[in-house]
């Protein structure tokens, strides 16, 4: 044992081992400093920014500080950093070409975070998909559709295409498309519709409801009746007002017509001959 001790002490106090110890110490210190700094930054940014931006800053600061300490540790160990950086640069270009889509998604994600067209919890429509945003991640956003399906949409396609945020504003307009028979008087129909809207407490008094005559349709007079509602009551009002309009029309004998077709044999000829049978003779002739 005594023979080995001087060799052991010489080994431990040699330059290489000391620099290894220093390198390990730097990495550990880096981990601690990065962790503390990111926690402090999170506390500060939570008050001023939303959760997503706050998370980005926390992760960014953590990896940046850790990276600086790791690089110092590697320098301590004697690595030639310029050669490493050069190799890393070439590797990055190669990876970059291979991962264009991912890089594009990443950058699109950063732009989305800055622009903030939506936040977690908003209901959005992208193309034909409507859903509630569950998370906004680096490469994609995740939606939950109303029939409880999970949809992943890459950030790149959101930046490139049209997106509708259904929950950005507190009130929404419901546009009801109606048709009434040509024999009805529009002023009477209008009065009935406004009366129905007035009686329904969910329908906002202001902005005022709109009665728009859309045109003389094929089988009916086409009308659009637009009413405003608090966003959360959208579905409830759409159902209740449709029912109430139908009831009001029925009690006022306003007809919502089926599609009509009029048949002529010719402008100068007689009508088609029709033979009407009563039900008893119809049964016996079968």
């Amino acid at each position: 044992m005594n023979e080995w001790w001087p060799y052991f002490v010489e080994f431990v106090t040699s330059d290489r081992v000391l620099s290894l110890i220093r390198a390990i110490f730097l990495v550990v210190l880096g981990l601690v400093v990065a962790k503390l700094t990111s926690i402090m930054l999170t506390r500060f940014t939570n008050k001023h920014l939303d959760t997503h931006q706050s998370m980005l800053i926390r992760r960014g600061s953590y990896y940046l500080l850790l990276g600086i300490f790791v690089v110092s540790a590697m320098k301590e160990l004697g690595f030639n950093l310029s050669v490493l950086l050069g190799a890393a640069g070439i590797l990055t270009v190669a990876i970059g070409f291979a991962s264009q889509t991912s890089a594009s998604n990443l950058i699109s994600g950063l732009f989305l975070v800055v622009e903030r067209p939506f936040t977690i919890g908003d209901v959005v429509r992208v193309g034909s998909t409507v859903g509630e945003i569950l998370s906004i991640d680096l490469l994609s956003i995740k939606l939950r559709t109303f029939d409880n399906l999970y949809v992943r949409i890459p950030n790149e396609s959101i930046i490139k295409s049209e997106l509708t945020n259904l929950t950005r504003f507190p009130i929404r307009r419901i546009d009801l498309q109606l048709g009434v028979s040509y024999k009805e008087t529009l002023s009477v129909v209008r009065e009935i519709l406004f009366d129905v809207a007035d009686k329904n407490p969910l329908c906002l008094e202001e902005p005022k409801s709109l009665f728009i005559f859309k045109g003389f349709g094929e089988s009916s007079l086409d009308i659009q009746f637009s009413i405003w509602v608090k966003r959360e009551n959208f579905l409830e009002l759409r159902n209740s007002i449709s029912e109430e309009i139908k009831t009001a029309f029925d009690s006022n004998n306003i007809e919502i017509p089926f599609p009509h077709r009029t048949l002529y044999t010719g402008s100068a000829t007689e009508a088609f001959p029709i033979n009407i049978q009563d039900s008893q003779s119809a049964q016996s002739s079968k």
Partner: protein, 268 residues
């Protein structure tokens, strides 16, 4: 009509109910029934929308026949119930936008006091200290939006007013509270009053001796240029009912010296 109807002046306040007893309150369009059992309170209610404009007051019966056919009901269970419960009126939980039936013009330098009414809610409380069981509007008013555009503003309740300037003309409606509003036009242009938003959640409720309910008077001063008005809520009951009693505190406490968008705000 039930012979036990109590013809007191006010419909709110402390009530007594024996075990297995049932009381009912008819006010405006609301029919409310409260039943007490040894370990539960049952509250049932429904609305009769034909009676919304009913000015015939109210009917309270401390010994009513239970009606199991009311539209909505709820049960509140306790280890033990005691015989007291409180019916308390409340002001609305959102601002109320009053629109005069005929628009009112207020020339430069003029001021006027309007008496505007707002719908009332009621709440049932039981126990010592009192626990709130239940809160409903006596009549659910229509929603409306008050703001400069459909993007900016707040959700309120709507009310129509005849813009009465004279106290004697005020109809006595037991299910609405009255707010005297003093409007002063200090701007350099005529004020066309098409709508006034009353900051109802910041107002208290006072009960007059004749059973009427009032909030504090408020003063809206239209400053130079625009629809912003400085709002001042008077302290204590308004002048017409100086000796009235505080029935309910405001739902929210007001911020001092706040400028308040109370007037008009056109939609573009």
């Amino acid at each position: 009509m039930n012979t036990d109807c109590v013809k007191d002046v006010i419909w709110w306040g402390n009530k007594i109910l024996q075990p297995n007893g049932c009381s009912s309150l008819k006010i405006g369009p609301l029919l409310l029934q409260v039943s007490r059992y040894s370990q539960e309170w049952q509250i049932s209610y429904e609305y009769d929308l034909d009676k919304v404009e009913d000015t015939n007051g109210w009917e309270y019966s401390a010994n009513a026949k239970p009606n199991g056919a009311l539209e909505k009901s709820a049960r509140y269970v306790f280890q033990r119930t005691n015989d007291k419960f409180i019916i308390q009126p409340l002001l609305a939980d959102r601002p109320v936008v009053s629109r005069p039936v005929t628009p009112i013009h207020l020339p430069v330098g003029e001021q006027i006091t309007l008496y505007l009414s707002s719908p009332l809610w009621l709440t049932i409380k039981v126990g010592e200290p009192s626990t709130q069981l239940f809160e409903i509007p006596i009549h659910r008013p229509s929603d409306t939006w008050f703001g400069p555009s459909t993007v900016e503003g707040e959700l309120c309740y709507a009310s129509r007013t005849h813009g009465l300037l004279n106290l004697e003309e005020l109809p006595q409606r037991s299910h609405r509270a009255i707010t005297p509003v003093l409007i002063i036009n200090q701007a350099d242009s005529e004020l066309l009053l098409e709508r006034v938003s009353l900051p109802v959640p910041y107002l208290s409720l006072f009960g007059g001796i004749n059973g009427s309910l009032w909030s504090e008077a408020i003063t809206l001063v239209r400053e130079e240029g625009g629809d912003m008005a400085s709002l001042k809520i008077d302290k204590g009951p308004p002048t017409p009912v100086e000796n009235s009693v505080l029935v309910c505190n405001p739902r929210k406490s007001s911020e001092k010296n706040s400028f308040y968008r109370a007037l008009n705000t056109m939609f573009g």
